[in-house]
């Protein structure tokens, strides 16, 4: 990499937000610079101010935020430009792509329109020329069959393709700098690898600088030239990517690098009783259809799957989004209607209705992925975690319930005082602990963990994994651990099932799967997750 001129430099940038509880400083005087043609990664956990830094640089802050300092782009301070001057730069010379491509595209316009419009506006081209240009862009981001795709609407495309379109839009005006704010976080690992490859290739072809905002250190190592590590609004460490990974200086960087969950789980003794068993489980969703709509489309989300969960065992179910892994978990808990045989202990629960399932619910618990959506925002934490007791132990007095809540919160490592507060006052990791406490207070036998760590920062993930392992050891729990994250699954599960499109592709003990994957799909997954080769070919 040849050191070239600095095109963007951020000096002493401070971002503060006015809130009811006084001003909150999200970014506390940071210095960052970007050279032409290089890839700079800004790494940090949620709340570190990494996104707000770039939002401030682009004047996209929320209305209660204000930025001070200097954001110098080729000699102009972006913070002091007027709106029309800013638009000369924003979207033209510096463009952005975001995490969620669905919400960044307008659902009412076709892809073609959304591409052509800004090209005409910014470059003053005619309709036909702009169309040609748009097609060229779609070919550039390797969208198959671009002619046809021009007429598609965002909802007709997959997440990866939408992100490609977003990249095409960002590239439309030949920018100097592309700011990518967690562009692959919402995507499956295999797609993620493709998108990053595409970005690396485009950079080589077009020579723009990329500012890459992410929480995922694994990607950074493979992608970036220089790295800034941010924490609580400050840059704690900066340097060449390799240097940071090989010899991190700051304790926080070391902690981040060591945050990968470690350890393995020993399988249960072979004579352990089978607690939950599914034989030929099938779940079919009807899509559309009805009186006038004609034949419904039948979608088989779970297709003839058999599974045996023993006491004290953790089965990891791995697959990409849409593979039916969550559906399987819910079907086994009889939260979704399904065909096939499901047994809990020695009882056949395949046909059990709501009423019949109720007494069993306390032994079969579920923990969700999103710790923000799974706790009712209007209830205190105490009310949330004791709700199950109202159903299953209605004789308990309010005081006894309170004591149980204290006990459960202690068990998951939270301050018992938390029970008088509301979920929105807690961080993601704390909320996930609350959700786990809600499941544990009922002393269940089987817990289905549906991506419990996916929405959390790496360092928090590790804590939650450790908490789950401790709870399992203490209470002889059986887990069904659903995840797309192979590193976490490896640390949690002693048996792995790989799913694709509702079917089991491969299953076996964890070590066997990791050391010697048989199915090609499993190999692809492994490669995408474990690979450490650089995307950058120029380095």
């Amino acid at each position: 990499m040849v050191a070239s001129e600095t095109i963007l430099s951020v000096k002493d940038l401070r971002v503060r937000f006015r809130t009811l509880d006084g001003a909150v400083e999200a970014v506390k005087g940071i210095n960052i610079h970007v050279n032409a043609g290089e890839t700079v990664a800004v790494v940090g956990e949620s709340g570190s101010g990494k996104s707000q830094t770039m939002m401030a640089a682009m004047s996209l802050l929320a209305s209660n935020g204000e930025a001070t300092g200097v954001v110098d782009y080729r000699g102009r301070n972006l913070l002091t430009l007027s709106k029309s001057e800013l638009n000369q730069v924003r979207g033209r010379k510096i463009s952005m792509i975001f995490q969620e491509p669905m919400t960044s595209l307008d659902p009412l316009y076709s892809i073609g329109n959304q591409l052509i419009e800004p090209i005409r506006r910014h470059r003053g081209l005619g309709a036909a020329e702009a169309r040609e240009e748009a097609l060229k862009l779609l070919r550039l981001v390797q969208i198959p069959d671009p002619e046809r795709r021009m007429k598609s609407y965002p909802h007709e495309m997959s997440g990866g393709q939408r992100q490609r379109v977003m990249i095409a839009m960002a590239l439309a005006n030949d920018p100097d700098i592309l700011i990518a704010d967690e562009p692959t976080t919402a995507l499956d690992v295999t797609i993620q690898a493709q998108i990053l490859m595409l970005l690396a290739e485009l950079q080589r072809k077009l020579g723009m600088a990329i500012v890459f905002i992410t929480h995922d250190l694994g990607i950074v190592r493979r992608f970036a030239d220089r790295v800034y590590v941010m924490r609580c609004g400050e840059v704690v460490e900066e340097g060449e990517a390799e240097a940071i990974f090989v010899s991190p200086q700051h304790a926080y960087t070391k902690m981040l690098l060591a945050a990968e969950p470690t350890g393995t789980k020993a399988p249960p003794p072979p004579n352990a009783p089978v607690l939950l068993e599914g034989r030929n489980v099938e779940v079919t969703f009807r899509i559309g259809g009805g009186f006038l709509a004609g034949e419904p489309l039948m979608l088989r989300a779970v297709d003839h799957i058999s599974i045996r969960l023993k006491r004290n065992q953790t089965i990891g179910i791995v697959g990409e989004s849409g593979s039916g892994k969550s559906t399987l978990g819910r079907a086994l808990l009889r939260l979704l209607p399904s065909d096939g045989l499901i047994r809990f202990g020695d009882r056949d629960i395949s046909g059990a209705d709501r009423q019949a399932m109720r007494p069993l619910r306390r032994e079969l618990q579920l923990v969700f992925q999103d710790p923000f959506g799974s706790l009712s925002p209007r209830m205190t934490v105490g009310q949330v975690i004791t709700e199950g007791l109202l159903v299953h132990e209605p004789t308990l007095s309010g005081r006894q319930r309170d004591l149980r809540a204290v006990e459960a919160l202690r068990e998951v490592g939270l301050d018992p005082n938390a029970r008088n507060r509301y979920p929105h006052e807690f961080s993601g990791g704390q909320r996930q602990r609350i959700a786990i406490a809600r499941a544990m207070i009922l002393k269940p036998k089987v817990v289905v963990l549906d991506e419990p760590t996916s929405a959390l920062d790496r360092s928090v993930q590790k804590q939650i994994v450790e908490l789950l392992r401790k709870l399992q050891a203490d209470h002889e729990l059986s887990y069904l651990f659903i995840s797309h994250d192979l590193a976490v699954v490896r640390a949690m599960a002693d048996y792995i099932i790989v799913m694709k499109q509702g079917k089991i592709v491969e299953e076996g003990p964890t070590e066997a799967i990791f050391s010697n994957p048989q199915a090609s799909y499993t190999q692809t997954l492994m490669n995408a997750a474990v690979d450490v080769t650089r995307f950058r070919l120029s380095a």
Partner: protein, 373 residues
């Protein structure tokens, strides 16, 4: 373990409602409007009994008196009023004078003067407490004295000589009551209906919402006119008519909310825990619905007040001598050239109240749904 439980309430979290309240308090327009509404409500409820005039009392001498801070009768009107009253007595004025707040009048008559004729002076709206001070021996001449009845008409009087202040306050009482009651009626029906439809989902939801669609297609004014024709003009009917139409919007809003809450993970979590339908409805769906419902209610109340005014304006609403802002404005509009205060005062009250209600509604929306605008 017990010691923790004993010292528990040390940390009390701030609920979403607490948050919303704090945000509302920071909104000056909304807070001012809130105080203003409270003020209007208080004067509408207690005002009519504190104002010296009843809203039904007719002052025949003060028809269409313009508003004034000074007391009636004015100096030049005293003589006119006196002459009129004396004429009814069928006696002649010899002379009269005013001392402070009393007038002394000497009257003569060809026939002896009856003591009871003082009542003619009392009957006038201008005088009170009439006495015969002295009488000549032959009874043909007498000196009467009467105190001048000081009356204040801050808002003036209407076409039949009723005090506009007390009528405006009374009208406020009716308008606010209709607004609040019909709003609550519409709200309760709408929330129950919408929450049931949204929560039940599927076929039940389809049928319930089609019924709403059918009711939507009824023209509102025809509906009210029909009710009035069949059942006569009736105050309670007004509530029914207005409430029966307005719950439809509420039902739709609530149904949409209930549908989306139904799919939230915390509802699924409750189901996975074995919580029954009732528990989910009461503990999860309804509390999370309340935000939008409260917002819509504050916008529903002014809507109802306007509808009521509109119906009263058409003559289908509240009937005399009972009154509402709509009725008063209707009368005022007929007299806009000759007595504009009849329009100005009620219109000011109506408009400012609606303004305040809308500001509060806006403030609540921002407070309960603090997404950045």
């Amino acid at each position: 373990m017990t010691d923790i439980a004993a010292t528990a309430p040390a940390v009390v979290g701030r609920s979403l409602w607490g948050d919303a309240w704090a945000r509302l308090k920071a909104n000056r327009a909304a807070m001012f409007s809130l105080y203003y509404l409270a003020f209007i409500a208080v004067i509408s409820v207690f005002g009519p009994s504190l104002v010296p005039h009843r809203y039904t009392t007719i002052y025949a001498d003060y028809v269409r008196t313009p508003p004034s801070f000074s007391a009636y009768p004015k100096a030049d009107k005293i003589e006119t009023a006196l002459n009129e009253a004396i004429k009814r007595m069928r006696v002649d004025i010899k002379k009269w004078r005013q001392e402070d707040n009393r007038i002394f009048v000497t009257v003569t008559s060809p026939k002896p003067i009856d003591d009871r004729s003082v009542r003619y002076l009392d009957r006038s709206d201008a005088f009170d407490d009439t006495k015969i001070e002295s009488k000549s021996p032959d009874g043909l001449e007498a000196v009467m004295s009467a105190s001048i009845r000081q009356q204040y008409f801050l808002f003036g009087t209407d076409n039949t000589g009723r005090d506009l202040l007390s009528r405006t306050l009374m009208a406020g009482r009716i308008s606010l009551a209709i607004g609040l009651l019909a709003g609550v009626v519409a709200g309760v029906i709408g929330v129950l209906y919408g929450a049931t439809a949204g929560f039940a989902g599927g076929k039940i939801d389809e049928v319930m919402m089609r019924i709403v669609d059918v009711l939507y297609s009824l023209p509102f004014i025809f509906f009210v006119i029909m009710l009035v024709v069949f059942f006569g003009r009736n105050f309670v009917l007004m509530f029914l008519a207005v409430g029966a139409v307005l719950w439809l919007d509420m039902a739709r809003i609530v149904r949409g909310q209930a549908l989306s809450i139904r799919r939230q993970e915390y509802v699924q979590a409750a189901e996975a825990m074995g919580v029954g339908q009732r528990g989910i409805l009461i503990r999860h769906v309804i509390p999370n619905l309340l935000g939008p419902v409260v917002i819509y209610m504050t916008l529903l109340v002014p809507h109802v007040i306007i509808l009521e005014s509109f119906l009263s304006f058409l003559g289908l609403g509240v009937q005399e001598p009972m009154t509402s802002w709509g009725v008063l404005i209707s009368t005022g509009a007929h007299n806009i050239g000759s007595a504009n205060w009849l329009l100005l005062f009620p219109a000011f009250f109506l408009v400012s109240t609606l303004f305040a209600l809308n500001f509060v509604g806006d403030g609540l929306r921002d407070a309960l749904d603090p997404r950045d605008r």
